[in-house]
Amino acid sequence: MNTQAVLTLSNITWLLAAMAFVIAPHAARMPLWVSAVCLGAGAARWWIARHAWRTPPWWVMALIAIGIAAGARLEYGRLLGREVGVTLLIAMLCLKVLEMRTRRDAVLAIFLGFFLAMTNFFYSQTLLMGVYMLGCVWLYVATLIGFNRIGSEPSLRERVAPAFWLLVQAIPLMLVLFFLFPRLSGPLWRMPSEDSAATGLSDEMTPGDISKLSQSEAVVFRVDFDGPVPQNEDLYWRGPVLGLHFGRSWRAAFVDPRAASANLDYQPQSPPVHYRVTLQPHNKPWLFALDMPVRAPDDAFFTPDFQMRSRTLVGSLRSYPMASHLRFKAGSVLTSAERRQNLQLAQGFNPRARRYAEQLLAEDPDPKVIIEKLMARYNREFDYTVEPPKLGVNAVDEFLFDTKKGFCEHYAGSFVFLMRAAGIPARVVTGYQGGEVNPITRQLVVRQAEAHAWAEVWLEGLGWLRADPTFAVSPLRINRGMTAALGPIGVLNTLMEADGLGVLKQIAFSWDALNNQWNQWVIGFNADRQRLAMDMFFGVKEADWRDIAKHLLLGVFLVGGTAGTLVLLRAYRRRQPPLIRSWNALCEKLAKAGLPRAPHEAPLDYLARIEAARPDLAFRLRPLVDAYVALRYAPQDQQPVDVTAFGAMVGEFRAGRAA
């Protein structure tokens, strides 16, 4: 087979286009120079194909490859790991395509393109990404088809249509395999965990962190309540508890695994609320629940400061049932070690705040009075804003006495600082507050914008109490949610607020409902769900891998067999040539107008008869019949139109009724 013939300009253009589409989502994550090298290599390859030049010699390619590896080493500080691996794969693939000489090289580049499509899923598995990558695969298959045509150049349709049908026919088999291929519950081997740049809460809080999060509309988790959704002011979703003061920032205390427990020791004071949380992957250990949860789900535990943590990082969609008591009394006894820890303050920071705390303590040593005085002061003098002024080293001092404008982390941070300075055990709690109910699914959707920080103080006889200074500044934030307190944040929310009829809101909710289904059935489809589905659809309880494999085989056999039969039938259906089909269509049209062709009638005789019966048709019908006769009987070079044009003419012809 002539291998050079298929490396045509159009085939190479298709390959480069497919690569550009599949690499595009990576471009934002790659260093700029890598994107530039890839673009350059692609453009050079196209130019080489265009002018039928020779590809660069191997030593030039080797030098560039070494250069890229060295650059990546400088950029990432290593050559192993997911991010640097993906970057190197992309760069090397672009170089490979640049020096591509044979058909085999091109096929290799296409197969590696499927790997590139896969790497995009490390970063996003949304519905949109899925649809986009499906488009990319379509492009790649169309490219592959082009490389398998020998001798003749395929038209756009001859590339796109077979690729489309191949993929459409593959979908039933894909679904069978997806739902019935036995799933494992854990990875085959663990990869060194890497922080992908997912935004969300962290175990450190510096003023400005959470207000930055409030710009993000990304969904953190969704909640299905068994009963009605509780009041907004009860929706405190506990996340990392930050007990250590480090001057400007607050950090989470080290969690001693020995102190972990599956149950929390507290006295419930209200009946439990039952619900199910579906948590988006965030690559962190914490799980979110309403204060106070009854029991930790499997593979999770509680820390002494009431955090619920997973034993593994939440790297994939996680769904767990929960029950919480919204009213409770917790932590009646505080050990001296705990007391010491919750009074800890970094030395040498915020002298004015310390003096102020001492002054409050001197006025009245009762902790409740101090708290009330502070809350009253926040309420009187402070503003709640999502764009707080920048603060220096003594952040609490500057906030309390100079700027007096801040977001929840400023209030929680300064409040806990003052409490500790006044000798009252206290800590910062971060998490999410509130959420939005989707009227279609009745689900509560919690987004990054709902990120919140509040405080907990320990009072003798009462235990740990939630104290939310943000509530003192802006009660609306807690009662009605973020948008009510601050007005719409971000473009999307502004649009939604301006949209009086609620159309946008409706679209947004439908979109969210769709995404939820996607999460439940596609992203979150795991070993548990597979067992559930086996029960739901086939009535197999407690299915093990053998049951699943049996159904898989049967499914592949049935679905593959059906699809295969349908595909093959097309080859066995005898079809007339397009010219005859068009002519028959024309005769059909005339027959409907009351002028059927007799079986013995030749085209020109037929025309003569029609011209006699319907003179009005003559001038429109004659060119058609002439064209047919020419196409059927005249030599190739004496044909006025081609078969396709004749078909189009027949399509446009209207016989109408006799005048």
Binding site: F121, G151, S152, M174, M191, G315, G564, V567, A571
Partner: protein, 324 residues
């Protein structure tokens, strides 16, 4: 390749693939005539699928599973599409033109397509490892011709042997093929040898010394038509007078007939003699001289015209071979 040199491997393959005697056209590629196996690219694709599956399992990428299974389904469907691309085609042999040794013989196979359009159909000789290939597309309901070029090395009959019609369309993961043998043979004339020089117009051999005059306009005589005479020589007026089909003879007299004699070239190897005779046949035909040919055991009476030339060339091509 002659049948004596068939290796064991070829015998086994003949048995598996049901080598048949030359078949009667047209041959329709029905399901049991078609074989299909993955190509090397296909096996590589399988490896790619396994790697994608491992990555999906390990990173629990649901979309990764979807991608892997979509591609797996695509591969399965591609097998059917490749099969479909060759199934139901109807093959019949075309006319094989004779060639001279050292030229390329062309074996045409007409492919009729009763159904949807086929692309990238290819053909090669089944038992030749690195031979030529040819390819064609066939539109829906039309037919196309696959013309396989085969280099004609020696004079004689060149059999193209069993032909393999195959396709890897649409994605190159599978190779679907079928064998067909119509017993097509090309007649290969000896290569003309320009070293033969001028025509052997040997005066002593021709008897009474009349020299044939090339291109002479002077009318000599009428004789009865013999197959192979060119229409230009036919005496149309005589035909109109209902005197029968007569041929006008010019210039050369019957007594000065040109004889191309194999034995006259004594001392030369057989093939060289045949090559020289071939050259002279072509020369004489160009000069429109009637000529006769003497081969051991075969004498062709002097005549002229394309049919006579072809008969002479065929005799030269097949000289010494047992087959007709």
């Amino acid at each position: 390749m002659s049948s004596q040199t068939l290796s064991l491997r070829q015998r086994v393959s003949d048995w598996i693939f049901r080598a048949r005697e030359p078949e009667i056209p047209p041959v329709t590629l029905v399901q049991r005539r078609i074989f299909i196996l993955p190509t090397r690219t296909g096996y590589f694709f399988g490896l790619v699928l396994i790697l994608l599956l491992i990555a999906s399992i390990n990173y629990s990428l649901s979309l990764g599973f979807l991608l892997t299974f979509l591609l797996a389904g695509m591969g399965g469907m591609a097998m059917l599409h490749t099969f479909r691309n060759i199934a139901r085609l109807s093959l019949s042999p075309g006319r094989v033109e004779p060639v001279f040794a050292g030229e390329t013989a062309r074996f045409p196979i007409v492919v009729a397509n009763p159904a949807v359009a086929r692309f990238a159909l290819a053909m090669r000789r089944a038992r030749v490892v690195a031979g030529e290939t040819c390819h064609a597309d066939v539109e829906e309901g039309r037919h196309a011709t696959l013309v396989l070029p085969v280099f004609a090395e020696r004079r004689g009959l060149l059999a193209c042997g069993r032909l393999e019609i195959y396709t890897e369309y649409p994605v190159g993961l599978f190779h679907a093929w079928s064998y067909v043998d119509f017993g097509m043979r090309a007649l290969v004339y000896p290569a003309p040898d320009p070293g033969a020089g001028a025509l052997p117009l040997d005066l002593s051999a021709s008897g009474d010394g009349n020299i044939p005059i090339r291109g002479d306009e002077e009318f000599q005589s009428l004789r009865a038509y013999r197959p192979g005479d060119t229409p230009r020589q036919i005496a149309w007026k005589a035909l109109a007078r209902e005197q029968g089909l007569l041929v006008k003879e010019f210039g050369a007299t019957a007594s000065s007939d040109l004889w191309l004699d194999f034995d006259a070239l004594g001392g030369m190897p057989v093939e060289q003699r045949l090559s020289r005779l071939t050259w002279w046949v072509l020369e004489a035909e160009r000069a429109q001289l009637p000529y006769g040919m003497k081969l051991p055991g075969l004498t062709l009476k002097p005549a002229a015209g394309a049919l006579h030339r072809d008969r002479c060339l065929e005799a030269l091509a097949l000289y010494g071979s047992s087959s007709p």
